[in-house]
């Protein structure tokens, strides 16, 4: 067991875990943050995507040890006191979530994309989300949600996930 300290959704935590335990399992089992999903367990589908120091990572491929000292953001940290983040609101209104299992990862990928390109082109959206598989939507509603979210600038919510 190794003691690991990191900041998760704005709160600093120290936990004892096997150093090679998957970050995904640490989140789901030790921290009970089950919004992060497992789809494939091999870094292909992006259902387990979280932000680690602002980078989008597949938490099924990250050993817990690598989170030492990091700032982590999961889907649970995207909204503020029950108020939906504009990205979440746009996914809701545009039909970007169907079965919902890819949605947490997709929303974090969108967050990462919009941090990098506040006004993304369609090509940047397609590339930026290409690591997150969705079997329901055919992505078209998701693209619309991302485009709509890009037009919303809400100073109260800007940067809350970082």
């Amino acid at each position: 067991m190794t003691s690991i300290t990191f900041t998760i959704n704005g709160t600093t935590k120290t936990i004892d875990v096997p150093p090679m335990k998957r970050l995904l399992d640490v989140l789901r089992e030790d921290l009970h943050l089950t919004g992060t999903k497992e789809g494939c367990g091999e870094g292909e589908c992006g259902a387990c995507a979280v932000l680690l120091d602002g980078e989008l990572v597949n938490s099924c491929l990250v050993p817990a040890l690598q989170a030492e000292g990091a700032k982590l953001c999961t889907i649970e940290g995207v909204s503020t006191e029950g108020r939906l983040h504009p990205i979440q609101q746009c996914f809701l209104e545009k039909g970007g979530a169907q079965c919902g299992i890819c949605t947490p990862g997709m929303i974090l990928a969108t967050q990462h994309l919009l941090d990098k390109y506040p006004n993304p082109t369609m090509e940047q959206i397609q590339e930026g989300l290409a690591g997150n598989l969705c079997r329901c939507t055919g992505y078209m509603r998701i693209f619309e949600a991302v485009q709509a979210a890009a037009t919303i600038t809400d100073p109260e919510l800007a940067g809350t996930s970082r």
């Binding site: 919004g35 091999e42 259902a47 039909g95 919902g100 299992i101 890819c102 949605t103 079997r135 078209m140």
Partner: protein, 790 residues
């Protein structure tokens, strides 16, 4: 009715959407019960054989584990669908790779892995059959060693789960008509078309948690299974046999379901029974969740198929007669194959007028894991055949694909191949015109013909025209006999109780819209009860594009019935939501409860003959024309879809945003089916059971998908809605392959078409590097054309 503005036709926020975007929705793997153990499955390492011995390695302390063997099953060792050939656990004999043999549970998930490895099974292997052709050959050659399925009293014969013979008239008159037409035809055109297996690839794997309860004397009192599924009552039925318990003692609860597409129609009966057996034996709740590799290797997929067409055509492009032989690979057990075959057989003739047609369908047994339900349910397979074949006929006789179809489309007042009179308006001529215009088809045909010259990128356009029946086939809905409840709640809201499930397609939302509109109250004032068989009635399975049309209609009727009761209790003719609530409250104060219960009533005008396989196959059809635009790169041999237009007539569109999402998602799966997704098999085992090497389309692979609706209300659905769920799976594959033929001149008649397939065809034709040649191939290898000289 009330003065409420219409809710059907608008796009309110989906009911469970907020929980999903917050990450708060609870899927089965997010749930845990006190004292819960974890279960795993010991599976067959061979395709077919007898089990000689099972030994348990000494390195494991087996006392700490719970093991379930076939002998532990208190009821019948079967997973029931249509017959009882499918064992819950293999007992002495295995018939496919990954067949469940033993179940193991332990409090620690990690400890299961070592135990699974320590179970050693020896087999005496038997020869297997792995394709439709091998299965047929065993029958033809009377090869007893390769008769892998004996036949059953439920309609099967050796190696064949079911056969259908469908005629456009009486058998004799149709056979005579076919014979005469083939004599008189200007052209006789044959073609063979094949489709591969396809994995549903829901992002949430199969998973359940089961509990078993005993009475004071230790007897099994009841079981309860919750999990990811489409059809809670299918699992109830399976549990009644495995546990020998009455229905009311087998409770099933659907939890949030992360995609299904048919893959969670029949399979939860397997994993649900398994978990319940472990819970019974170990005395704890047991969770089984598959990982991706196990889910892909062991659970159902779309049936591979082969369609053979032989068609008599006049030189002016009239279809005179046809014979279609449609075969699907059912895998090792019958499961749902007879029903998949039925839908595929009925859809095989396409949306065309056939003076005389005969369709033979058969579902063959192979030693693959059983194939099962997947969106479209047999129709995408046979529609691929007919829509490729129509382009073949057009090319052969010198008409455009458009003109050939125009000369043969079914229209209002015609009868289909099953003898169903199309009394509702059908206008495929207009549909085709509009779809081609929306897609810019004619302009592109001309432009690409020019730009392809001298270019290594060959562009093309193609389309497919088709129909898809909504609801269960024939007398199926009458047999289902579905029931819905609508309750008035103490706070004045209404609650829908049905076994119809939400798995992304929008069941909760559209049924609440229908309920709200029927009751004349706000969408927010109608809520949806979790599908839990302790509370909800059996409104049938959530399959077959039936939920919006069939269950929606029942909800509409239940709403009207409730309104009648409340009107009699004083609710005004033009009530507001608040007046409705007040009336409910006073009604409940006086009467205690208010439940509106409605049962399906078969339309009196609908008739179906199961023996002759004739009549009204479906209460309603959706009609569609899909247009694909492709680019084939002769340097990389890669085909990509560059634009897609999908036009459909689906009756009233209940929720435009959800409806578009359904069609776009189905088109994306159809594009995957056509050019990306290939199941690789070796001796019956899937070799690429990972997302790394089974390739579904990503956001970067898909073109803009343009959705267009036509709305012709249908009396069988609420406010005229028909089913749309499966429809979009039917059209993309043939449209794309038609476009690839337009681009390259090469007819591909097997899907998927991967770069290696294009490479193989190009190099075998003497074009090793593609390049600038303009292909003009008149002969393709899968098709034989007879030009009949008078």
């Amino acid at each position: 009715m009330s003065h409420q503005s219409p809710i059907i036709g608008t796009s309110p926020i989906r009911k469970e959407g907020r929980a999903k975007v917050l990450g708060e929705a609870q899927y089965i793997d997010d749930l845990s019960l006190p004292g819960m153990w974890f279960g795993a499955t010991v599976r067959s390492a061979v395709a077919r054989g007898t089990i000689r011995s099972i030994t348990f390695g000494e390195e494991i302390n087996w006392d700490a584990y719970c093991i379930v063997r076939p002998a532990d099953i208190p009821g019948e060792n079967t997973i029931v669908h249509l017959t009882k050939d499918h064992p819950c656990l293999a007992d002495g004999m295995v018939n496919h790779p990954e067949e469940p043999i033993l179940l193991i549970a332990h409090p620690d998930k990690i400890a299961l892995l070592a135990a699974l490895k320590a179970v050693h099974i020896e087999y005496d292997e038997l020869p297997g059959v792995f394709t439709i052709e091998e299965s047929e050959a065993a029958v033809e050659n009377n090869d007893a060693a390769r008769i892998i399925w004996p036949g059953s009293d439920a309609g099967g014969t050796a190696n064949c789960f079911r056969q259908y013979l469908m005629y456009s008239g009486t058998a004799e008159e149709t056979e005579d008509g076919i014979a005469a037409a083939f004599e008189a035809a200007d052209f006789i055109i044959e073609g063979e078309y094949a489709t591969g297996a396809q994995e549903q690839l829901y992002i949430e794997n199969n998973g359940v948690i089961a509990e078993c309860f005993r009475d004071a004397t230790g007897n099994i009192e009841s079981v309860c299974v919750r999990g990811s599924m489409q059809c809670p009552y299918y699992l109830v039925h399976a549990l009644t046999l495995v546990f020998n318990l009455p229905e009311e003692k087998c409770r099933v609860i659907q939890t949030e379901t992360g995609g299904a597409f048919g893959g969670k129609e029949d399979f939860p009966s397997v994993i649900g029974s398994h978990a319940a057996l472990l819970a019974m034996k170990c005395g704890h709740p047991v969770k089984i969740t598959y990982d991706r590799a196990e889910d892909m290797a062991a659970t159902t997929k779309r049936h591979p198929s082969r369609t053979r067409h032989r068609t008599a055509v006049s030189k002016d492009g009239k279809l005179l007669a046809g014979t279609i032989d449609f075969a699907i690979d059912g895998g090792a057990y019958a499961t749902l194959s007879p029903v998949v075959l039925s839908r595929g057989t009925i859809h095989a003739p396409g949306p065309y007028k056939w003076p005389f047609i005969r369709v033979r369908g058969k579902a063959m047994a192979t030693n693959l894991p059983p194939h099962g339900a997947f969106r479209g349910f047999g129709a995408p397979q046979s529609i691929f055949g007919i829509e490729r074949h129509m382009d073949k006929i057009a090319k052969t006789i010198g008409l455009t694909p458009e003109e050939l179809r125009r000369r043969n489309f079914l229209t209002t007042g015609d009868t289909t191949a099953t003898g169903q009179l199309l009394s509702d308006p059908v206008d495929m001529q207009h549909m085709l015109t509009r779809a081609l215009n929306e897609a810019g088809y004619h302009e592109k045909l001309a432009r690409f013909a020019e730009s392809n010259k001298g270019s290594a990128i060959k562009r093309g356009v193609g389309f497919a025209a088709f129909m898809h029946g909504a609801g269960f086939t024939g007398s199926g809905e009458a047999r289902l006999n579905s029931v819905v409840y609508l309750d008035a709640l103490p706070d004045g809201r209404a609650q829908i109780l049905v076994s119809s499930t939400e798995f992304g397609q929008g069941t909760q939302t559209i049924l609440c819209q229908v309920g709200a509109q029927a009751l004349g109250i706000a969408y927010e004032d109608v809520i949806f009860h979790q599908p839990d068989t302790k509370f909800v009635p059996n409104s049938g399975p959530t399959v077959a594009s039936r939920t919006a049309m069939i269950v929606g209609k029942l909800i509409e009727r239940a709403g009207k019935k409730m309104l009648e009761t409340l009107r009699a209790a004083g609710l005004s003719e033009h009530h507001s939501s608040d007046e409705f609530k007040a009336c409910v409250k006073s009604y409940l104060a006086e009467h205690g409860t208010l439940r509106s219960s409605v049962r399906y009533e078969p339309p009196t005008k609908i008739f179906w003959d199961d023996q002759l396989y004739r009549g009204d196959a479906y209460p309603g059809y959706a009609w569609a024309v899909y247009v694909a635009e492709v680019a084939v790169d002769l340097n990389t041999y890669m085909a990509t879809v560059t634009r897609f237009d999908a036009l459909q007539e689906v009756g009233k569109v209940i929720h435009p945003v959800l409806a578009k999402g359904q069609i776009e998602g189905g088109v994306a799966q159809g594009i995957g089916y056509a050019i990306y997704e290939k199941c690789m098999w070796k001796d019956g085992r899937m070799m690429n059971n990972q997302m790394t090497n089974y390739i579904m389309p990503t956001s970067a692979d898909l073109p803009p998908i343009h959705i267009h609706f036509e709305e012709v209300p249908c009396i069988h659905g609420p406010e005229g809605a028909k089913g749309i769920g499966e429809l979009p799976m039917d059209g993309p594959a043939p449209a794309i392959l038609n476009a690839i033929e337009n681009a390259t001149g090469i007819a591909f008649n097997t899907i998927p078409v991967l770069p290696e397939d294009i490479f193989e065809r190009l190099t075998s034709l003497g074009h090793p590097h593609g390049g600038s040649e303009d292909f003009n191939l008149t002969v393709d290898r899968d098709t034989r054309v007879e030009e009949v000289t008078a």
